[in-house]
């Protein structure tokens, strides 16, 4: 338990010291919201949610890439793979939750009329998906640049795709879009439940993906036999 | 004097000389070297003297103590132990017993 918490804490400390990333985390969702603010409320809320998702994903990507060289040493120091990826996920989720708070308050301050329960649920989904998503990309792609480009592509697709279309459910942040519709447009509960389910499933799938890659990369090699001290 | 031969003689007797000097009272390396030189044994280099002192210390014939000088560096002072006194008596007597006939032979040979 302590190992998990220590990894989470160090992830947090690292992120807080990276001022570029912090700026991203705070400015990007704000900018997305402001750009769409004059348009119809649903657009601005959806942009805000996408901004949060993208920012947290990028932070997750950077955190994973930066830790890559350190992880084998941590294995030797006594950590198991699950301490490392779960700990990092916890740290990233914590960061995501913390930055969600001001952005949750933003429409409130703006006097927007919407279901704030739904807004909270949508933000939770964004954050929940974003952390393992960014981690998975960071684990699979060797450099931050490629990872950032991939994230950019995904976010653009997410923005442009028709949410009712057949392929839309394959995009990772579809859940927050669906819930946003329930939040703003006063539709029926179906949107909320579909969104929550999608968010849960995608988070789980991405987390399993991260676990799989980490377990392979940090595995106990077969050629090495460990004996107790004799 | 042939330095090789002198070296050989010193190797046999330097430790007894040091023990004898220390029986007068405690002393340190440089002082011992000076004393030997003054007594006529000739200049004793540090490289010759200190290994002897170390060996005497290791075999328990002397003990050593570092002491701060009044004006100058700390010095390692040596003094004889009881074993050292005993070794001096035994070794010194043996030397004197040995050297007397040698002196007789050589004196006769040189004066001829």
């Amino acid at each position: 338990m302590n190992r998990l918490v220590t990894v989470a804490e160090m992830t947090l400390r690292e992120l807080l010291r990276r001022r570029g990333v912090l700026l991203l985390l705070l400015l990007m969702p704000l900018t997305f919201y402001l750009i769409r603010r004059d348009a119809y409320l649903g657009q601005s809320v959806r942009s805000l949610l996408l901004g949060v998702g993208w920012a947290v994903s990028t932070a997750a990507l950077f955190a994973t890439t930066a830790a890559r060289e350190l992880e084998p040493r941590l294995r030797l120091a006594g950590y198991r793979p699950h301490h490392l990826y779960l700990g990092r996920m916890l740290g990233l989720w914590t960061v995501g939750l913390v930055i969600s708070v001001p952005f949750f308050l933003l429409p409130m301050i703006d006097g927007a009329d919407l279901r704030y329960g739904g807004l909270a649920a949508a933000m939770l989904c964004s954050v929940a998906v974003a952390a393992p998503f960014g981690m998975l990309i960071g684990a699979l792609l060797p450099r931050e640049l490629e990872g950032t480009l991939l994230l950019l592509t995904v976010v653009t697709v997410q923005m442009l795709i028709d949410p009712a279309g057949s392929g839309a459910r394959l995009t990772p942040f579809w859940s927050s879009r669906e819930i946003a519709t329930w939040t703003v447009d006063n539709t029926d509960h179906g949107y909320l439940s579909r969104g929550l389910l999608h968010g849960l499933v995608v988070t789980a799938l991405l987390a399993v993906g991260v676990a799989a890659v980490a377990s392979v990369r940090l595995r106990r090699r077969r050629h090495l036999r460990h004996l107790p001290v004799g | 004097m042939d330095s090789d031969r002198r070296g050989q003689w010193l190797r046999g007797v330097l430790d007894i000389c040091v023990l004898a000097l220390l029986s007068e009272g405690e002393s340190y390396g440089y002082q011992l070297a000076q004393a030997l030189d003054t007594a006529g044994v000739g200049p004793i280099q540090g490289g010759t003297l200190y290994p002897v002192l170390l060996r005497l210390q290791k075999t328990g014939l002397v003990t050593a103590q570092w002491r701060e000088g009044n004006a100058g560096p700390a010095r390692k002072y040596y003094r004889l132990t009881d074993d050292g006194y005993a070794a001096l008596r035994a070794g010194g007597s043996a030397w004197l017993t040995f050297v007397r006939p040698v002196n007789d032979i050589v004196t006769k040979g040189v004066s001829r």
Partner: protein, 281 residues
Amino acid sequence: MNADDWLRTLTAELHQRRVAADAARHVVAEAATHLREGGGDPWVVFGPPQQYAGAVVESIGTAPGPRPGPVRLHAAGITKRYGRRSVLRDATLTVRAGQIAAVIGANGCGKSTFLRICAGLMSPDAGEVTVSGRLGYCPQSGGTADFLLADEHFVLIGAGQGVARGPARRAGRAAARQLGWEAGGDVQARHLSGGTRQKLNLTMSTLSAPDVLLLDEPYQGFDQGTYVNFWDQLSRLRDTGTAIVVVTHLLNQLDRVDIVLDLTPARETGWHAPGIQGGRP
């Protein structure tokens, strides 16, 4: 060579001959005092430092070297190919507790690869490695977290063994001090100078008190003083029973080392020095 240089060389010679540290200190101090009182050229008064050191050793003997203990690392038949290029061929190394092994060879002959295979970070195409006890590994570069402080590195490594924060920090700072570095403070790793960052790298690998320590040329960027401290620390670790493997291309410390593994393919050099374990040609 002036008196200070002579004394420094004497210190090194005594250390190399495994004279006990306290005795060596006394010998050097006494020689220094003698020279100060009487003056003179140390080469005349004492002779060459090697000779004097030899005489001292004859007089007082050496600290008994710890008997090499049980085998801690055994790598046999390690083979690794990258595509068609064979990087390692049947490399073999056995290191016991209390021994230091040096892995040498030209650039690109697989020293780092061999070490990573022994550390379990890479799989070989053939061969086996058996490690008895805890493993520590220091990569050639990197291996630190850019945005964390030195103390935070220590806490992170310590937590892997269940060590609490305070003790982990203290242990890390103590280990850092042995390399001549004060590790406290709030400087992020990325702001440390290259040599200091390497000291952090090295300290991290010794923190968990490993039984087998694998070091991949860890002294990049060390100044001369730190380099000497580094080898002193290795000797100290060796005396406490750690088995150490150092990848190095600097051959001037090979006399402080018990085993040498030369990974240069024998067909190039055609020569295996005696006492050297190597790979088959």
